[in-house]
């Protein structure tokens, strides 16, 4: 690079207008792909691999959303599973008890895209909103705390939630009893205490998972490109300079928490309605939270595609290593250690996958 004439400004990206068609395109493509996945994949690879691919999608939502807080804004939350679990419980309550009120039973109602599935989709979004509210509450301490101290608060949130969920009531499973139940039976909510919330109708399929993956990824990507996202990244880079540029760091941090919690709550809804899953208090614990932290660290902070790849690898790997049986967790840990030694900035660092074809800048 020698002397470029300063008079001529290069065509820059920031100000070009975007039409509604361009805006809708990624959603259409993503949801179309989700539809295709649902139509083709289960018949092709069977229920086991479909389940793994579904789990990958849920992990992607959680990791990409956590990346908004940990990667973009540079805060350190290790309570993400707490948001997921609260969303899962809220969504589960809506479909389970809602089904009793609507259809006198909690079994799956209607076929693909039938009325039951729409109740489920709405419940996932409500689960997300409930989680977002918790995100606001947990985000508030992030204004005063940072680093390890904030991590402890978020960890504490997950653990407190776990204990609180253990103190809930037994699940009601009789249509008549549910209709006549008084306030005392709804509070604390009847979600199964320590054994978990069983009996939630199993609506989750690849279509819904990858539809929500699409929404999460597109929103995260748009956020990253927007001035709002840049403001979050500026907090990660240098809080004082960010403030000096007029960034309201308190609002941005809480906003990051709220957004991340919303998508975690949605993922919780998907998780709670998945076949073979009983959502239980232990899901809110730190072990699950750590899985997602590892995904964001491994993927690279702020890299959406990197985190998606890490979510894929870390979800698929334990399954692929099932042949090694008891050794698989050791292999898993070894891979992580090697990764941290060889590429501590994560798979992609701060870059996205399409940056790698270009000349390094």
């Amino acid at each position: 690079m020698s002397t470029t004439p300063p008079a001529m400004l290069p065509a820059t990206t920031p100000f070009h207008p975007v039409g509604p068609v361009v805006t809708a395109m990624p959603f259409v493509i993503g949801i179309g792909a989700a539809f295709a996945l649902q139509a083709v994949l289960p018949g092709m690879v069977g229920p086991y691999y479909s389940r793994v691919i579904g789990d990958i999608g849920i992990a992607m939502i959680l990791a990409v959303s956590l990346n908004i807080v940990n990667g973009m804004t540079g805060q350190f939350s290790i309570g993400h599973a707490g948001f997921m679990t609260i969303g899962g419980y809220a969504a589960g309550m809506i479909t389970y008890y809602g089904s009793f009120f609507l259809w006198n039973g909690a079994s799956v109602h209607g076929g693909f895209l039938g009325s039951g599935e729409w109740l489920f989709a709405v419940s996932c979004i409500v689960g997300g909103l409930v989680a977002a509210l918790m995100g606001y509450v947990v985000g508030l301490p992030s204004l005063r705390l940072r680093g390890d101290y904030l991590a402890i608060v978020t960890l504490g949130f997950g653990e407190i939630l776990r204990v609180v969920l253990q103190q809930t009531n037994k699940v009601l499973d009789d249509a008549e009893a549910i209709r006549t139940a008084g306030w005392s039976q709804w509070f604390p909510p009847p979600v199964g205490a320590a054994i978990g919330f069983a009996g939630i109708p199993k609506y989750t399929n690849l279509f819904w998972i990858y539809t929500f993956v699409t929404i999460t990824v597109v929103v995260a990507y748009r956020l990253k490109q927007s001035s709002l996202g840049r403001a979050m990244i500026s907090i990660r880079e240098d809080e004082i300079a960010a403030q000096a540029m007029g960034v309201n760091i308190a609002r941005q941090k809480v906003l990051a928490f709220v957004m991340a919690a919303f998508f975690a709550g949605v993922a919780g809804g998907l998780f709670a309605h998945e076949k073979g899953v009983i959502i239980s208090p232990k899901d809110a614990g730190f072990q699950r939270s750590f899985d997602y932290v590892i995904m964001t660290v491994l993927g690279g902070r702020g890299s959406i595609t990197g985190v998606m790849l890490a979510a894929t690898i870390l979800t698929a790997l334990p399954e692929l290593l099932r042949d090694f049986d008891q050794y698989r967790l050791i292999v898993f840990a070894l891979l992580l250690i090697v990764m941290m030694l060889v590429r501590p900035q994560g798979l992609f660092g701060i870059h996205e996958i399409w940056h790698f074809g270009r000349k390094r800048r």
Partner: protein
């Protein structure tokens, strides 16, 4: 009426008093410099003005409003822009993205574009590196970027904290030349410097700060000629 006037400002870090009731003012169109040794309270003054620190007592009036105790982002949005010591570059963002963050709170796109062009004309070195990651710039280029970024906020008052810190003398010359140009185009500047001789050359007026209080003030040329200042800060014998 001065653009910025500070009255009897005191700031403490815990039990240590960093500023002991200082008063100063900056008129519109001026370059005012604050010189003094290490620990004199120069940076503390700037950090208090921009809201990063809260004063224990005293008032700060900017552009007709009392701003002491306001949050830093609010103060920045009233166009009092602080380029902190150590430049505060967003290292993992590109130079272009850094500049965009300078205009973070503005929505007047045409004016932003004009300011961007002006900033890039002042700093051709920054212009050459728009797509580069800011962390890969040299120290001088980072300082230039920091000032260029601040200009995108279209400041009424630009506060520069040690722009010469750690830079080669030639780069320092360039940067001070641009500071003068920015001022001639109408931006008021409050400059904190250890490099007192450079600062006194560009400034109209100066304050000498020593252990938290103002020891001398006056015309920059006269201060530069005074024996006390020459002995203490300009290395004369």
């Amino acid at each position: 009426m001065p653009l910025l006037s500070i009255t009897d400002l005191s700031v403490s870090y815990g039990s240590i008093q960093a500023l002991r009731g200082i008063s100063l003012h900056v008129d519109e169109g001026e370059i005012v410099t604050l010189i003094g040794g290490n620990g004199a309270g120069k940076s503390t003054t700037l950090r208090t003005i921009s809201g990063l620190l809260s004063p224990r007592s005293g008032t700060i009036e900017f552009d007709g409003h009392m701003i002491q105790g306001q949050p830093p982002h609010g103060i920045a949005q009233s166009r009092l822009i602080h380029v902190p010591e150590g430049r505060g570059i967003f290292a993992n963002l590109t130079v272009e993205e850094n500049l965009q963050l300078g205009a973070y709170f503005r929505h007047d796109k045409a004016a932003i574009r004009a300011d961007r062009e002006r900033a890039l004309t002042l700093f051709p070195r920054v212009h050459e590196r728009l797509q580069q990651q800011a962390g890969t710039l040299s120290g001088g280029e980072q300082q230039m970027l920091a000032i260029a970024r601040a200009l995108l906020a279209r400041p009424k008052l630009l506060m520069l904290d040690e722009p010469s810190l750690g830079l080669a003398p030639q780069i320092v010359q360039t940067i001070f030349q641009v500071i003068r140009e920015i001022n001639q185009e109408g931006t008021t500047i409050l400059l904190v410097e250890q490099n007192a001789s450079m600062a006194l050359q560009v400034a109209h007026r100066a304050y000498v700060l020593e252990v938290g209080s103002i020891q001398m003030e006056g015309d920059a040329k006269q201060l530069a000629a005074s024996d006390d200042v020459r002995k203490a800060y300009l290395g004369a014998h």
